[in-house]
């Protein structure tokens, strides 16, 4: 298929083998190096989308990142659908499948276009005024009728539905100088900084470096054509090992202290899976940042300025020079600025018909204007476009005096493309994000960088310095300055000065029917901004939010200044008085996947597993997530339910012996002459009198007096303690201790070392625990007398250095064997083997929970919630009576903490012994059910194999005084009666512990 608009002479795209692509089901040929937009334009296809609100036909406006109109969905198949891509940035590849958006049934015939008939009723903010329905209907009208319609109508492209199979990578990197933008300014900066030896990163979001040099066909630099200079500059940079050049890489956000986010498109042709990654996110920490991001051309504001075929002037020059594409056969140019004459001249030189240049300025002069006249191009000065016509493509424009509203004076000029230039807007996005100030530059009618943040510089067009010579000079100076090098001079020629006035919105013709658009994508027109101002929106921020101007996917790159100007005029203020809205990251939209990186599945959060975990997996254990840990939850046998497995594990443990992997417990080694004194500060308990070899259950409070952790403190030596914490609390407790040690008690001689992962912990619990482990233990006398309950001994287990603690969280005789992690599995298996003849069972966290509940042992975080004191838990005994101070002590004397009626920890026995109350269920005193005031809630509830019935633990207001009372638990429309009891159900005297 031929490409009727491809110019034989021009263009950097390779002729080679054609690429085939589809757009809206039609197959086209394109070339390597094309964008989707250039390839479509080569076929004369201008209509590529429909607008958001009015479904107006829209074409390609620009040639780059600023594109508001030409949004397409690209479908790479198998989960690779991406909506809302700019056709101007989509690189063509063979087999590309793209579709237009926001139209039904087809782009050319779109039923949604009826909206534009009602345009006057869809004025700015109209939806705030209507769709409410009658008051009597309440929310129904909005919820059931209007909102679904609004939602379906809104929303641009289709949503991706399948999981994205592609991969994304992230890297941090550092450099001396990050240079953003590789146009003339950026290249000159990179050359200067690179020559001076700086570690440089040069990035540009386009596939090719060069910026506007890529479409420069007349100017020369150092006597060479711009293109030749570009080639030489790129070669020179490539030869510098200290310069990293990254193409297809957008700098999307500037953060504190020169952290700049870059997003690189690596394998993204939106096609089948590549081995590598689709996009790569760089977090660059740069000592210096040079912004050389260029400038964006502004559209003109006139009725019908949105028709397909109406484009930015410089874009036409780019399509011609870079892709060899003529955007039309008879092109009309409208401008307030000299730069568009250059476009007209280039088009004419390439043989494209130029119908004339309509210049809003009364008497344009200057080199380029004269050159155009000299080339026979008709210049219509003091004239403006008054309206356009053409259904799916511009066919004709009406031209009239700028200030005139009379249709009679208008001239009609036929054209198939209308190029507009309303001046240039420096791309100050990143400068503004870096908290640089902006100042109004009346000469160019735009904001330019003022006071910059430390170590951020702007150079070239983004700094308001238009023109090649200026870009080179500023870029070079910036590059030299950041690297301590010296500046050099570039000689340019055929780089005529270009200026422009800024009257972008001439008087509206009486004959004009269309709206004059400001924000093309969000369909915001001049009258919308005027209406917003009329309705009291005086801040530009209100105007933005009320009209949504600048809030579309292009973030107003082409439209914000035009909208601002219209708003300022309506407010009767000067533009700088009205001010700008905030520039925010990202510069252009960034893929979620790139921001999420490789963190998915098991790499989303670390999956922590104990040394014994592989054994449990081999046994078919079910696991549960506890913080980052995977813990064996229970060990089902074939055909067993969870309840059955748990009951068996509990019964067997109490009957003979159970093994439990307690390795996840946090462990801290507290060492130093002041170790006991320090622990006395950190825990409620006394430790001074704890003899070496003994353990103590310890409660930790925060300074507000609430329980935050508990554990066992084992004294190994006068100056050495082995402290355990909850699994989830390990890191938090260590930090909490370090905080007090370093900042409140720095004089104490004590040091803390985390040993959580040093030790694998095998809990062996049950009446036969001693029998099972004795054969494996050396150097420790495990007898009742030699190693009583709550003691710790160092010795050997299976030949490995071990700490054996006689502690119990089940209420049975119990030992916790601590061995170095790497031996954990071996020791576990040895214990397991010993246990085999004694009906040992492995139990998981669920059985552990059940058994401790039978004993009424608290689980911090389950039975407590950060509002519970030791006394609330009935653990007042854990408070050292003679201690003057410990963390949290003072708070325990606060009025509400000593007040009567606090919630207290109790046991509950449901009337129906088979009914297991739900954890979290509320407790009321009357059978009232809903409406009754809650006295508390169930914190733990299980079926207890030991008792053969359900048990529960609860926090109940004044609970200890209610022992014996019957309270009620409303659950699922039922109300369950339950008797309040003491929270220890099994072996309340603790006889089983002392064996």
């Amino acid at each position: 298929m031929s490409e009727p608009f491809r110019i034989a002479t021009g263009g950097d795209v390779k002729a080679g083998a054609p690429l085939t692509f589809m757009f809206d089901g039609v197959s086209y040929a394109g070339r390597a190096g094309d964008t989707l937009a250039s390839a479509l334009l080569a076929h004369g296809v201008h209509l590529v989308g429909r607008s958001y609100k009015y479904h107006r036909p829209r074409g390609v406006l620009s040639a780059g990142a600023e594109e508001p109109n030409a949004l397409v969905g690209v479908d790479g198949g198998a989960g690779r659908f991406t909506p809302n891509l700019r056709a101007t940035q989509v690189e063509l590849h063979d087999g590309l499948v793209a579709t237009s958006q926001n139209r039904w049934p087809s782009l050319a015939f779109d039923l949604g276009a009826v909206n534009s008939l009602g345009a006057r009723f869809f004025s700015a903010g109209f939806y705030y005024k209507t769709f409410m329905g009658p008051r009597a209907a309440g929310l129904r009208a909005w919820k059931n009728v209007f909102e679904p319609i609004v939602r379906q109508a809104a929303g641009l492209g289709a949503a991706p539905t399948a999981p994205d199979p592609d991969r994304y990578a992230q890297f941090y990197t550092h450099c001396d100088a990050l240079i953003v933008g590789a146009g003339a300014a950026g290249l000159a900066a990179a050359l200067a900084a690179g020559r001076a030896g700086a570690d440089v990163i040069l990035c540009d979001e386009q596939a090719r470096f060069g910026g506007s040099l890529l479409q420069e066909r007349t100017a020369t630099i150092d006597d060479a054509p711009a293109s030749a200079w570009l080639e030489a500059a790129l070669a020179a940079l490539a030869a510098m090992p200290n310069v990293r050049m990254v193409a297809r890489t957008q700098a999307f956000g500037h953060h504190a202290q020169n952290l700049v986010g870059l997003c690189e498109r690596v394998g993204d042709r939106d096609s089948a899976a590549s081995e590598g990654v689709r996009e790569r996110l760089w977090q660059v920490r740069a000592r210096d940042v040079v912004l050389a991001t260029g400038a964006i051309e502004r559209p003109l504001v006139f009725p019908g300025n949105d028709r397909p075929g109406v484009m930015l002037a410089e874009a036409a020059r780019a399509y011609l020079a870079r892709w060899g594409v003529a955007v039309g056969r008879r092109v009309l140019v409208a401008t307030t600025h000299d730069s568009a004459y250059r476009v007209a001249l280039d088009l004419r030189a390439a043989g494209v018909g130029v119908a004339g240049v309509v210049d809003l300025r009364d008497a344009p002069t200057g080199e380029l204007v004269e050159a155009a006249r000299g080339a026979g191009i008709r210049v219509l000065a003091g004239r403006a476009i008054k309206s356009t016509s053409g259904r799916l493509r511009i066919r004709e424009a009406r031209i009239g005096p700028v200030a005139s509203t009379e249709a009679a004076q208008e001239e009609r000029i036929a054209c198939d493309a209308l190029l507009m230039c309303g001046g240039w807007t420096p791309s100050v996005h990143l400068h503004a994000q870096s908290r640089g100030k902006l100042v109004w530059a009346p000469a160019i009618g735009a904001f330019v960088p003022g006071q910059a943040a430390a170590h951020v510089r702007s150079a070239g067009a983004c700094n308001g310095a238009f023109g090649l010579a200026a870009a080179l000079r500023e870029g070079d100076a910036a590059g030299a300055a950041v690297a301590g090098g010296s500046a050099r001079a570039y000689a340019t020629a055929h780089d005529p000065p270009q200026t422009g006035a800024r009257d972008i919105a001439p008087a509206r013709s009486a004959a004009a029917k269309d709206k004059a658009f400001l924000d093309f994508q969000n369909d915001v027109a001049v009258e919308d901004v005027e209406l917003a101002v009329r309705e009291g929106m005086r801040s530009i921020e209100h105007v933005k939010r009320y009209t949504t101007t600048g809030m579309a996917t292009d973030q107003g790159k082409t439209s914000n200044l035009n909208a601002l100007e219209v708003a300022a005029r309506a407010l009767g203020k000067a533009v700088p008085e009205v001010g700008l809205t905030t520039y925010r990251s990202p510069y252009t939209p960034v893929t979620f996947g790139a921001l999420a990186g490789a963190s998915r599945g098991d790499l989303f959060d670390p999956v922590r597993r104990t040394p014994i975990d592989p054994w449990a997996q081999a046994q078919g254990a079910a696991f549960e997530d506890v913080g980052l840990w995977k813990r064996a939850h229970y060990f089902p046998r074939a055909g067993e339910s969870m309840a059955q497995a748990v009951a068996r594990e509990c019964r067997q443990t109490r009957a003979s012996v159970g093994l439990f992997d307690a390795s996840t417990l946090g462990k801290i080694e507290v060492v130093g002459p002041d170790a006991a004194a320090f622990l006395e500060k950190m825990y409620t308990n006394p430790f001074a009198g704890l003899a070496p070899g003994r353990c103590r259950y310890a409660l930790m409070l925060n300074e507000a007096g609430f329980v935050i952790d508990d554990g066992v403190v084992a004294r190994l030596a006068p100056d050495r303690f082995h402290v355990t914490t909850t699994t989830g609390g390990a890191a938090r407790v260590l930090h909490h201790m370090e905080d007090y040690l370093q900042t409140e008690f720095p004089q104490m001689k004590v040091w803390l070392t985390s040993t959580s992962e040093q030790w694998a912990v095998i809990a062996v619990q049950g009446p036969r625990a001693r029998d099972v482990i004795t054969p494996l233990v050396e150097e420790i006398d495990l007898s009742r007398e030699a190693t009583p309950h709550m003691s710790v001994r160092e010795g050997r287990v299976c030949g490995f250095a071990a700490r054996v603690m006689r502690v119990s969280f089940t209420g049975e005789l119990g030992f916790e064997i601590n061995v170095p992690s790497e031996h954990g599995r071996a020791v576990w298996e040895a214990v397991w083997a010993e246990g085999a003849s004694r009906e040992a069972v492995a139990y998981g966290t669920e059985a552990m929970h059940v058994m401790r509940a039978e004993k009424g042992y608290v689980i911090v975080g389950q039975d407590t919630d950060g509002t519970v004191t030791p006394d609330d838990l009935g653990l007042g005994w854990a408070i050292g009576k003679n201690k003057r101070d410990f963390v949290g002590k003072r708070s325990l004397a606060r009025p509400d903490i000593v007040a009567a009626g606090r919630k207290q920890f109790v046991g509950l026995l449901t009337e129906d012994p088979a009914f297991v109350a739900e954890e979290g269920a509320q407790i009321v005193d009357a059978r009232g059910g809903a409406g009754g005031a809650a006295l508390g809630h169930v914190t733990s509830a299980y079926f207890s194999p030991a008792l053969g019935r359900s048990i529960a633990l609860a926090l109940v207001a004044n609970g200890r005084n209610r022992i014996g009372e019957t309270l009620h638990i409303p659950i699922m429309g039922r109300t369950i009666a339950a008797r309040v009891v003491a929270p220890t159900f099994h072996d309340p005297q603790g006889a089983l512990l002392d064996v």
């Binding site: 992230q170 080694e669 992962e757 490995f800 599995r825």
Partner: protein, 188 residues
């Protein structure tokens, strides 16, 4: 019964696509201690170990397979590759006797890797935000730092050779991300 029944005392060797650009090797068993205290304690420990105690924070000194990393003002990590902790513990305790300090065996707490090759630093920077360029992180520098959601100790042994220490349960996460980064750096 005293002979060790340990079946598999070394951590698993990483599943990592080793190549000329980057290879990741487990260092195997090692004795490791955290020494806390003041500089005299470090000096004494260094003497016992045969390593000059690093005077500056975030520096390491090595002698053969033994090394001392100064991770904080009062914290040193002592590493002896291939050694068992028991023997070393005794000689260290002896040397330190009488000097206030805390010496804690963490041999089994963490595992060590050596990441080597042209891309080594790049792969580390997939998760570690530190400046790893020569000027900022020269050979001999060693520090505790962060790798995404894991804490690591990072020690530059040679221009392209890095030692990483990580708590054992975080090792699969670290290795997984390094392998993922290797893929993400394929064209770099």
């Amino acid at each position: 019964m005293s002979e060790a029944r340990a079946a598999n005392p070394t951590p698993p060797t990483p599943a990592f696509p080793d190549d000329a650009e980057a290879s990741l090797q487990s260092v195997g068993a090692a004795a490791r201690f955290v020494l806390r205290g003041e500089t005299p304690a470090a000096r004494l420990a260094g003497e016992a170990l045969g390593v000059a105690a690093p005077g500056r924070i975030n520096r390491a000194e090595a002698a053969g397979l033994r090394a001392m990393l100064r991770l904080g003002p009062d914290e040193w990590l002592l590493v002896a590759d291939g050694e068992a902790p028991a023997g070393l513990a005794g000689s260290l305790a002896q040397a330190l006797d009488g000097t206030p300090h805390s010496l804690v065996d963490v041999s089994a707490r963490q595992v060590g890797f050596v990441l080597d090759g042209r891309l080594a630093a790049r792969l580390i920077s997939a998760g570690c935000p530190l400046d790893l360029r020569d000027g900022a992180f020269p050979v001999g520098a060693a520090t505790r730092t962060i790798f995404l959601k894991a804490e690591i100790v990072l020690w530059r042994r040679a221009a392209q050779t890095w030692r990483l220490e990580v708590w054992r349960s975080f090792a699969p996460y670290l290795i997984g991300h390094l392998a993922e980064a290797r893929r993400g750096a394929a064209d770099l």
